[in-house]
């Protein structure tokens, strides 16, 4: 009895050691790629600013002071003020909420929907024809045009931005998942699973899905970045986040009118967009190297 207990303890030790070793290797590989680290640091900082926004600024993004319109950056107003005398720093920081929030929600929603659509259309041929033709139809429109059309139909509201962008990007994610799943579906181990009596559900979710995760994760970071850009575009055009609420896109729009006498109004939101998108793309590239065994071998 005691021997058995002893043995079980040893077993769990084994598992813990192996898992610890695996984690250590992963962390080391992660940090060996400087670009990935840079990307993740940028994203972490952006997320931190997004979450801590209200604590960082003594101004609110809505407070208008008519006497201090278009003030250049100073110790008082770190990024200067806009054409209505609102503190630009507060507006950019609060704008991060809209941009990052939209980006993250769109990335999550499209991943879930895209995974479901991609997996089922890879597994069932008839469904594939129907779903992929719908996706083709959606993908035939340029992303920004479709997003504008959807926003025009739904009405300008931040929730609708998320819905519209999810509708725009889901077909792309579904395509990525489907193509990964099609490869996996033909593997002998899937047939072997069938020969062991696994149901279609079990095969799709238990065995095909995990094999499509790494391209999906990588792709969703790019969707995150794309969503930020398109959201900024929509807000810039006036069909995104509605006016009093700050978003990087609509700050840019306000700044466009005064670009020659108040450079800061276009500069700071522009830099925010560039940094967050750059950070996400670097992170995504690094993840791809990390998760794809082929590129790993090439590096060694």
């Amino acid at each position: 009895m005691e021997v058995a207990v002893e043995k079980r303890r040893e077993l769990s030790d084994f598992r813990r050691d192996i898992n610890r070793e695996r984690r250590r290797l992963f962390v080391r590989r992660f940090f060996s790629n400087k670009l990935t680290v840079t990307g993740s640091v940028i994203i972490l900082l952006t997320l931190l600013v997004t979450l801590l926004g209200p604590l960082l600024s003594s101004y609110t993004p809505y407070e208008m002071v008519v006497t201090s319109r278009l003030k250049a950056p100073s110790a008082d107003h770190l990024f200067g003020t806009d054409n209505l005398g609102r503190d630009l720093f507060a507006r950019v920081v609060y704008g991060a909420r809209a941009s990052m929030g939209v980006g993250l929600s769109v990335a999550i929603i499209t991943s879930v929907l895209g995974m479901i659509i991609g997996l089922y259309s890879a597994y069932y041929k008839v469904l594939d024809h129907v779903l992929m033709r719908i996706c083709d139809g959606l993908m035939a429109f340029p992303a920004i045009l479709l997003a504008i059309a959807l926003m025009a139909a739904l009405g300008t509201k931040i929730d609708n931005v998320i819905i519209a962008l999810a509708a725009v990007f889901t077909p792309y994610v579904a395509r990525v998942v489907r193509s990964a799943a099609l490869v996996v579906r033909e593997q002998t181990y899937i047939e072997a699973m069938k020969a062991q009596g696994a149901s279609s559900m079990r095969i799709i979710w238990g065995h095909i899905a995990p094999n499509t995760l790494s391209p999906l994760i990588v792709y969703s970071t790019f969707i995150f970045a794309d969503a930020i850009i398109i959201e900024a575009g929509l807000s810039f055009l006036g069909v995104g986040v509605p006016a009093p609420d700050p978003s990087w896109g609509n700050i840019l729009f306000d700044g466009k009118l005064v670009i020659f006498n108040a450079w800061w109004m276009t500069f700071f939101p522009g830099v925010a967009i560039i940094l967050s998108v750059l950070g996400l793309n670097l992170f995504g590239d690094g993840l791809r190297d990390l998760l794809d065994p082929h590129t790993n071998h090439a590096k060694k």
Partner: protein
């Protein structure tokens, strides 16, 4: 005849292709008893693997595949039962080992997870019990340090080891019938014999029936009790191992056997070969299917289809001239 473990009667597997309907397995019949090893031999493309996968009904795409005939397993016709009943049989009563051990394991799960999968699916054991069972199975198939190995991923172990793991998965639920589809083709000779010895000893332990698909006649001679020789989707000869090797009746079987290199013999003598290629399933010969390649073929063979005749000693043969051929061969040697 009703007491066989597996009895296949006049099984036909059709595929619908772009060039029309193709019958990959055309009316084959055989049986497997408990504790015996039936070998199915034949060239590439003669329908061995399709037969194996048909038994488990692995081709299930509607409108593309269709089956005819009967597959009786313990009195149940596997072609008639529902999908969910079929799933209960797969992996539990009938297991299959696939040809290619390198791609038969899912790369994202540890081998322990994969052995536990059928156990938890069919035996309704808890995760912990299944885990212990998986370790037991790894011990059984002779993998050293199983407690460590269960946590490894397929890419961390060798090909021979992976094939052992495949066997462990197939045997995890102690099936009554094991279908081994060229289990040793991808492995080197030393591992090959180890794996076959292992399967053999497990057969004795568990009293399984085994259907071994192979094109290695050496393996057949060593490990099997009966042999069915397939050619172009048909069984052309079937019999006990001894009688088949000593006294092959079908010209195709003779060709197969005489093309084995001999260790002791005249080294300058060229190995005999069977001339020609297996014809495509779209252009099946009208008469005997082997006739275009057969040295004994005459007008009758070209035009009329021979039936599978049953001779004494459970021997079955599909050839018009087996009586005369038998004489011809014994005269020649």
């Amino acid at each position: 005849m009703g007491d066989h473990l597996l009895e296949v009667n006049n099984l036909k597997t059709h595929f619908r292709t772009e060039r029309g309907k193709v019958t990959a397995v055309d009316g084959i019949s055989f049986h497997v008893d408990r504790g015996e090893v039936l070998a199915i031999v034949g060239e590439s493309g003669c329908g061995k693997s399709v037969t194996a996968q048909s038994i488990l009904r692995l081709f299930e795409e509607k409108g593309v595949t269709s089956y005819d005939g009967e597959i009786n397993f313990e009195g149940k016709n596997l072609l008639k039962i529902s999908d969910s009943e079929m799933r209960k049989i797969r992996g539990n009563d009938i297991s299959m080992i696939f040809q290619d051990p390198l791609s038969s394991l899912n790369p994202v799960f540890t081998i322990g997870d994969q052995i536990m999968e059928p156990i938890m699916l069919h035996q309704k054991l808890s995760k912990k019990e299944a885990y212990e069972r998986a370790i037991e199975m790894l011990k059984l198939i002779g993998i050293p340090a199983p407690e460590q190995r269960v946590h490894e991923y397929p890419h961390q172990i060798s090909g021979g080891m992976r094939q052992r793991v495949m066997i462990a998965i197939a045997l995890a639920c102690q099936p009554k019938l094991l279908i081994a589809d060229e289990p040793t083709t991808a492995l080197d000779v030393t591992i090959q014999s180890q794996i076959l010895e292992l399967i053999d000893s497990l057969r004795q332990k568990l009293d399984m029936g085994i259907m071994l698909i192979t094109h290695d006649l050496g393996v057949v001679a060593q490990h099997c009790t009966r042999v069915a020789v397939m050619y172009l989707g048909e069984v052309v000869e079937e019999g006990d191992v001894e009688s088949l090797f000593e006294n092959p009746l079908h010209p195709y079987t003779q060709g197969l056997i005489s093309s084995i290199p001999q260790l002791f013999g005249n080294r300058n003598k060229k190995l005999s070969i069977i001339k020609g290629m297996v014809p495509s399933l779209n252009e099946i010969p009208k008469g005997c299917r082997f006739a275009p390649r057969c040295p004994f073929a005459d007008a009758k063979c070209m035009n009329e289809k021979p039936e599978l005749e049953t001779l004494d000693h459970n021997k079955r043969i599909k050839c018009w001239h087996h009586q005369t051929i038998k004489g011809a061969v014994s005269n020649a040697t």
